[in-house]
Subunit: 155 residues, 2 copies
């Protein structure tokens, strides 16, 4: 199990299937839980969303494009840049700055109209490419007995 | 908001950061909840995992490589191929067969030893490329009042 994995496998490239629209142009700190966004899905995929409106929540996968090409990043960081929190590995945070800048967010689906999804709580700026939409299924996605380190409470 | 999104944005390609090892060579139906897998992360990222062992659960993002290049797929499907379930859009399922075959699974982290994560409940076959690891944070990832359509109970 010690062998290295080839970093570049054939065909591992993503297509944007949609885009985030919310008028927020800069990734400043804010109460993302309240932010309402529209996700505009490519119209060729409209029918692929049929039935999504029966779910109260969806998982949105985004390509966090602002985190790309910012040069080399330290491998360990203070979560959210907060110096009072312990240093942890980069993959132990939800920072967009990671080997593959794919973000996942569980959000409330307020409305679906054709290829447009109105959601609340998506922490992504205007123009962020969307690469996937999944229904949130509690039996699969939810954990009732999850344990986290105490610094999570100070995020 | 009606404009089409450019499908191919520059730089949207993924690097494998690790690989799934569990000896399961074919994607047959089984009780994935019980399956124990090892995720071997590239050793250059070992320190990026420091602190992950304080979390009981992690979210694993995989590139579902077997779903790639299987030709054109219908845009609406019976979930899990079960004919007795209603037809829904492809994005309303968790099928690997989707525009971008990125799977997300919330799994129990049994052990971390250096660059090797021992997990339970990962529904991915041996050799699946891993593209990201995230800590499971209940306040961000969990929904207490999620509603789903009734067919979910028959999956």
């Amino acid at each position: 199990m010690g062998i290295e994995v080839a970093n570049e496998l054939p065909g591992m490239h993503l297509k944007a299937i949609g885009i985030v629209r919310n008028g927020i142009k800069q990734p400043v700190k804010q109460n993302w839980e309240k932010v309402v966004s529209h996700i505009v899905i490519n119209s060729s995929l409209t029918e692929a969303l049929d039935g999504l409106e029966e779910f109260s929540h969806i998982i949105v996968l985004c390509w966090m494009h602002r985190a790309v090409a910012n040069g080399e990043k330290p491998i360990k960081v203070h979560p959210m840049g907060k110096q009072e929190l312990p240093v942890v590995g980069r993959l132990v945070t939800r920072s967009p700055s990671r080997p593959n800048p794919v973000g996942i967010a569980t959000v409330r689906l307020l409305q679906r109209r054709g290829n447009i999804l109105k959601v609340q709580g998506l922490d992504a700026i205007d123009g962020t490419p969307v690469i996937d939409i999944k229904p949130y299924i509690p039996g699969y996605d939810s954990v009732t007995d999850a344990k986290v380190p105490s610094w999570i409470n100070n995020l």
